[in-house]
């Protein structure tokens, strides 16, 4: 129950937000940060147990018919992500409260934010893949609301929709993968799968399962070619970008990969596809980041690049690579979360995010500058920041990778150099130099907006200095869960003058070089129109309008507004399905004796049928309304007679009465009704086709039924119980008033409503004449 309560608590802000904001509008969000703080404290306590080697698991029965139980699991991997989510949750709550202080919709923002945080907490604590999927989709949904928070802007709505459609599409593929995996392995519980990977590995569909699962991870973690939603999602307010798009949600894909890595990491598909996609995304993101001049776009593309690094490392799959991936997740969260908040401050206080416009902010925004500088140094990998530790182990893993190690090293070097260049730009360029003329007169952000970046960047420094004391024990267990071997993670700040350290220095030097020539690179990119390349996004941009066009077209086709077409569509569908069942269904149709029966004829029965047939012909062909109504009466009385002949006197009596009533009603208003319209023979023949098909199929169904056995269970039940249980000798009567008494009550109600309708339609005056 403990973990379930924690998950519920993480959602609770969604309910509490309006109440808390009712108490104190100004500090509502900051007050809500108590929730992630409590969770963070709880996670820290749990962490000490996990560090001692414990895992926690609990199962609460939920929707058992779907095999969906609330299985929660805390191990080294989930505790790490949980601390990341709740820790940043505290900072982001406080930051957003200040960032949105003048926003009237602030309470609503915190509802969405809590929904998102709860979904993330649930996602990382899920102990079954199906449950993980449920929370996965919840993160997509809540991120839609967060990205589209400025819903009055069209761009914002479009971006939110795009982010949701792309990630939900990936989620659907992932669901298919999960279902397939569950069908083949017989379980979706992560503990069982981890304990026995052979369950999955023996499946003949193993590669299909993996590709489907990867679709989910790649869309969520913005891997090429699904990355395009992330730069567009920068329409979101800064706290959303800092929380969702750098520290938590985009890492959900990485989390999933880390979760399933012990099962799949030996597969050739895993060790080729992941490094290829991740490596390409890493370089592509870095290059696109260099081409951008909007600070948020720069951060978005470097995030894509960083996610590529994580995917690549998990794909390389060596012990060192997996350790590097987890170290890098933490390092990236600390510096990128800071930078997103820093950029939020700059945008908020200076009114622009254009790197070319910004300079000399150091004096106006000293604390923001400190945070930015700390984070930038971590990002570029300067000693003694945690980013340096991450970069060292990253280079180590790349050099150590089983195949293509030189190419991998080169790619990491390129990305590292770009990261360093952009770090100089963000941490140095915009803060030094002349004080530029800006849309707003810049001044320091309020305390609430400084706490987050300062704390996060401070941890980036602390994590480096105290790497052996803080980061190592936690990440040790995390990476052990991911590669499922008990190995030792050795993190040290200072390795001595090794080759890797030389490479680190070289990266910084190259980064400085790139920084110097960045304007020229951008000029070339602008000339070649590279920064506006839509790339894979154009597929999305074409797909959505054509989808809408198809939807409109098919709606126009089916919903023509002509009653006739509706009837034809409905009857054709019925005829078609029955024909399909008859042709391919399991039951064999006795075509030969379809018309055979030993029931026999009586002359008076045949006479009634003949009279009905004559009336039928008259009623469809006569032009006189009176003749038609009389013919209808004949058919009605005819059916009543048939009921009488074949043992249904009650039905017959009702039919006689109703028939009489109908004819009376008809005659009463007959001359208020329109005359028949003459229809040409050609049209009549055309209308007959669906009608005859429909009639033929219905007759066929009846004839077919006569040749097959029908159950008499109900008949026997009522025969046995009508008198014994309900004290009535007329069985039909007993069914209506006793066994199915409630149905009859419903029937009376329907009739009452129809009567009210008839009455009011008769009484209403022609107040509004349409068309006159």
């Amino acid at each position: 129950m403990e973990i379930l309560l924690a998950v519920l608590l993480s959602f609770s802000g969604a309910i509490l937000s309006p109440l808390v904001h009712g108490l104190t509008r100004k500090r509502g969000g900051a007050l809500l940060s108590v929730i992630p703080f409590l969770l963070f404290a709880w996670a820290s306590v749990k962490m000490w147990h996990v560090v001692d080697g414990a895992t926690f698991q609990e199962t609460i029965p939920w929707i058992q018919s779907l095999g969906l139980d609330l299985v929660f699991r805390i191990d080294g991997l989930s505790i790490f992500f949980l601390m990341l989510i709740t820790g940043f949750g505290v900072l982001i709550h406080i930051y957003a409260n200040a960032y949105l202080s003048h926003d009237t919709n602030k309470p609503r923002f915190f509802v969405f934010l809590s929904l998102f945080m709860g979904s993330m907490v649930g996602l990382v604590l899920s102990g079954s893949l199906l449950l993980l999927f449920v929370f996965w989709e919840l993160t997509s949904l809540s991120s839609y609301m967060l990205i589209g928070y400025y819903h009055e802007r069209e761009k914002s709505r479009d971006s939110a929709l795009q982010a949701m459609l792309v990630t939900v599409l990936g989620g659907l593929f992932m669901l298919a993968g999960i279902v397939l995996l569950g069908a083949d392995a017989g379980t979706l519980r992560i503990d069982e799968l981890l304990a026995n990977p052979q369950l999955v590995l023996n499946s003949p569909n193993i590669n299909i399962i993996l590709v489907l699962l990867l679709m989910g991870a790649f869309t969520k973690s913005a891997q090429f070619p699904f990355h395009f939603w992330l730069p567009n999602a920068m329409e979101a307010p800064a706290p959303v970008s800092a929380y969702l798009h750098s520290t938590t949600m985009v890492k959900a894909g990485v989390f999933l990969l880390a979760r399933i890595s012990p099962i799949f990491s030996e597969l050739p598909l895993w060790t080729t596809l992941l490094p290829a996609v991740g490596g390409f995304t890493m370089v592509y993101g870095a290059v696109m980041a260099l081409f951008s001049t909007d600070l948020k776009k720069i951060l978005a593309y470097t995030t894509i690049s960083a996610l590529g690094i994580m995917v690549m490392l998990l794909g390389i799959g060596t012990v060192l690579a997996v350790q590097a991936a987890m170290v890098f997740v933490l390092a990236h969260a600390l510096y990128k979360g800071t930078l997103f908040m820093v950029v939020g401050n700059i945008d908020h206080e200076a009114g622009t995010r254009d790197v070319n416009q910004l300079s000399g902010l150091r004096k106006a925004m000293p604390f923001t500058f400190v945070a930015a500088a700390l984070a930038a140094m971590s990002m570029s990998g300067v000693l003694p920041f945690f980013g340096f530790v991450a970069k060292e182990i990253l280079y180590g893993a790349a050099a150590d990778s089983p195949g293509w190690s030189y190419l991998t090293l080169a790619a990491v070097f390129v990305a590292g150099a770009v990261f360093a260049a952009l770090s100089i730009e963000i941490g140095y360029k915009i803060f030094f130099g002349d004080e530029a003329k800006l849309p707003k007169h810049p001044h320091e952000a309020p305390l609430g907006m400084l706490l987050g970046p300062l704390v996060a960047s401070g941890f980036g420094l602390l994590g480096g200095v105290l790497v052996e004391q803080v980061a190592q024990p936690l990440l040790h267990h995390t990476s052990n869960v991911v590669h499922n071997v008990d190995s030792v993670l050795k993190l040290t700040l200072w390795h001595g003058f090794t080759l890797i350290f030389g490479l680190s220095l070289l990266t910084l030097a190259a980064g400085y070089g790139v920084y110097i020539i960045r304007s020229r690179v951008r000029a070339v990119a602008v000339r070649l129109n590279l920064s506006n390349l839509t790339g894979p996004e154009s597929a999305y941009l074409q797909f959505i309008p054509s989808l809408l066009k198809v939807a409109k077209g098919q709606t126009r086709f089916f919903q023509s507004g002509l009653l006739r077409n509706y009837m034809v569509i409905i009857s054709t569908f019925l005829v078609g399905t029955i024909a399909l069942v008859a042709a391919f269904g399991n039951g064999s149709i006795p075509w030969a004796n379809l018309f055979s029966s030993d029931f026999g004829f009586r002359w008076y029965e045949v006479l009634v049928v003949v009279a009905m047939l004559v009336a039928l012909v008259l009623s469809i062909s006569s032009q006189s309304r009176l003749t038609v109504i009389v013919s209808l009466g004949v058919i009605g009385y005819g059916t009543a007679m048939l009921f009488l002949f074949f043992g249904a006197p009650d039905v017959a009596m009702t039919q006689f009465l109703i028939e009489t009533l109908t004819v009376v009603l008809f005659v009463l208003i007959l001359f208020k009704l329109p005359k028949f319209v003459d229809v040409p023979l050609r049209v009549r023949l055309r209308l007959m086709v669906p009608a005859i098909l429909f009639g033929a199929v219905m007759a066929f169904v009846l004839l077919w039924l006569h040749q097959s056995e029908t159950s008499t269970a109900l008949k026997d039940y009522f025969a046995q119980n009508s008198y014994v249980a309900a004290k009535g000798k007329n069985i039909v009567n007993v069914i209506l008033v006793d066994f199915r008494g409630l149905d009859t009550l419903g029937e009376i109600t329907v009739l009452g409503i129809a009567a009210l309708g008839v009455y009011s339609l008769l009484k209403v005056r022609d107040v509004r004449r349409i068309g006159s």
């Binding site: 009653l563 469809i620 009533l661 009608a691 009846l702 339609l761």
Partner: protein, 118 residues
């Protein structure tokens, strides 16, 4: 006889749909009624037909011995007849009201509510 009645039911269905497909309002009402008859007969014929043995328990007995008419479809038909009457009455009055209000008996003219905006 059951074969003959099945064919009659099919014909009633065909006639009902045929009339419904007309654009004249009167034909539509007749069509609805025809479909009602057809459906009642259809339900009736789903059970095996019996002659002259209503589902009445003899006064001396507690239960009834076979053969007797299947009471289940009969109960359903009774409901159907009554509901059908409600629908017919409502349809007749509604169409009369529409006719008086719009002065048209052509169903094809009454499609504005289903038009799709561009």
């Amino acid at each position: 006889m059951d074969v003959l009645l099945s064919i009659l039911t099919g014909l009633l269905y065909a006639a009902g749909l045929y009339l419904l497909l007309h654009k004249g309002m009167m034909k539509m009402i007749i069509g609805i009624m025809m479909l009602g008859y057809a459906s009642n007969l259809f339900l009736f014929l789903v059970a095996k037909l019996t002659r002259g043995v209503p589902a009445l328990i003899p006064s001396a007995a507690d239960t009834i011995e076979v053969p007797f008419a299947d009471p289940v479809p009969q109960a359903l038909i009774l409901t159907a007849i009554v509901i059908g009457f409600g629908i017919q009455a409502f349809a007749i009055v509604l169409l009369k009201r529409v006719y008086l209000s719009t002065r048209t008996a052509n169903m094809d003219d009454l499609n504005t509510t289903d038009k799709l905006d561009d």
